[in-house]
Symmetry: C2
Amino acid sequence: MSDIHPASVPESFPMNGGDGTYSYTKNSVYQKAASDVAKEMIDEAITEKLEIKILTATSNTLRIADLGCAVGPNTFMTMQNVLQAIERKYQNQALTSKMPEFQVFFNDHAANDFNTLFASLPPDRQYFAAGVPGSFYDRLFPESSLHLVHSSHALQWLSKVPEGLLDKNSPAWNNRRIFYTTASNEVFNAYEAQFIKDMEVFLKARAEEIVVGGLMVLILPALPDGIHHSQLPVGLLFDFLASSLRDMVNEGLMNEAQLDSFNLPVYAPSPKEMALQVERNGCFSVERMELTDPTSKIDGPVDARKLIMHLRAGMEGVFSKHFGHEIVAEMFERSLGKSAKLSSLLESSCMKGTQLFLVLKRK
Amino acid sequence: MSDIHPASVPESFPMNGGDGTYSYTKNSVYQKAASDVAKEMIDEAITEKLEIKILTATSNTLRIADLGCAVGPNTFMTMQNVLQAIERKYQNQALTSKMPEFQVFFNDHAANDFNTLFASLPPDRQYFAAGVPGSFYDRLFPESSLHLVHSSHALQWLSKVPEGLLDKNSPAWNNRRIFYTTASNEVFNAYEAQFIKDMEVFLKARAEEIVVGGLMVLILPALPDGIHHSQLPVGLLFDFLASSLRDMVNEGLMNEAQLDSFNLPVYAPSPKEMALQVERNGCFSVERMELTDPTSKIDGPVDARKLIMHLRAGMEGVFSKHFGHEIVAEMFERSLGKSAKLSSLLESSCMKGTQLFLVLKRK
């Protein structure tokens, strides 16, 4: 449910808790804006595309899954929106049949904090809740058992760091960088190849699990068609953090090998790339594919400091796991200190329309 | 999965971890013996009573739930046994249809440690796993969604301490006791009334969730028909622990009110009582109902010290939550010190056939 939750990597890095300066709660204005945009579009998808009568022909249960749910509360709000949209549909269409029962499966890695998720389930929920541990780059559910699948800001996480990036003798060796934005073509190609492999596995698994006529709503960061990947805002942000790490290497505060051995397993595809993978899979029709701009909901220009704080709240864990807390704290402090530079970098980047909203229907 | 796991009380008291002197691992010989007896009977129930072909007529998925699963590993072994029994049935009957897919729901209170459960799921499992948080004295699953429900040593936990036990002005006030074994008739009646209420709710919920033809296997401690409840071995054991607490009150080591305000919300029904509740519910046929004697699998006489250690491994948490660790450690030490007295108490009790094995089929 967050653009920074690594729901597809073998380990789980929870967002910063509490409500302090660096907490996710205090630093999620962009996340909130993205949710608002998505909410309207999910409502429309359910109203226009979900044929409930057909889906509940053999059983009166609608099964819904949220892939990469983290610990809430966003997943709960989304599921509530989904249920309300279905209920509205029943009322508006004056459907006389019994309202279906809902079973909601919350999925994330086994290392996700399901205890916290379960403890914070809304007491007044109108659905039967279940937690499903495991990577979505694998089968998670029985065949033809799901009617609606939702995944928000999770699918950009690759199943692993692409091959070659850590190998000094590979043309894709990504030394002194942590991402593909400013890297060589070979590095970008390695990321792209991993994305293609992962999407093949993801779509094949979901095609088996989703009933014919079932919907899948995917929301993830993306690169507009025709824009070079060096323009990806989140990539510029990652590279901006990497520049602070490089400075620290140059000042002898950390080891070069430590920097070389870290890469973020994240990929933001273009709509064209995504459509190609859906076509190759062959089991889904594209019902809607649109780039949205969550920042348009926020007044005034994008605030570079806020962006850094937002990233810290969500991704500090991913970095800390590799670099340790001290280096990561220093990295964020240094990056905040030169945030004006990030502002000008972002001005020249493509800030508009970098959230992909995709509705697929199982053929 | 343990006779001491309070799967039905609002909070979860996990068994003692690790492999030390008081660990569940080192003190579960009776539990193991009970499992072995149950395994054979579950095998038979599946072989003789589960009509897989009918159950998988509309979908190729078999949905199985374990209610009161705790954190493993017993629940995993039981589920593996269940799956193997179904697979054998396919092979023996030379069923030509595709083996069904299995979805296993592990249920326990939301406060159960699902993180540990999920982390220890067998990597080679042949089923899709899900965790379902919540009390089984409530609906947990959509209607007609389960084919096989299993619950071992969980259903003896009442949903709450029976009314009146804590009220000085009630005839059911259970002062200086923690259970009904040696208590007044009013206390026993309050326990029995709570059991009847809870079973009504439990059977109603399961009747809604289990498909017609689906099975429910229940294993719980019980009192043989015609035996007075003062003869219940586990009750004698509880009262033996209470006697140590009473000594400590008399010696001024703890407060009398502290003892008066604690009661174990546990009830061991007779087969007759259980059959009556099933009949009142009306949705299930009794396919098998049998008292078994797990201790018959253990060589030699029942060892009172081992029983106390076993109870400590499983129930220390329930006591500690109320009394604090120091008092509980002292209670167990004192009880171990006079275990010879428990041995003679148990000799005069009804040690044979106090495990109820019940197979119900949804009509």
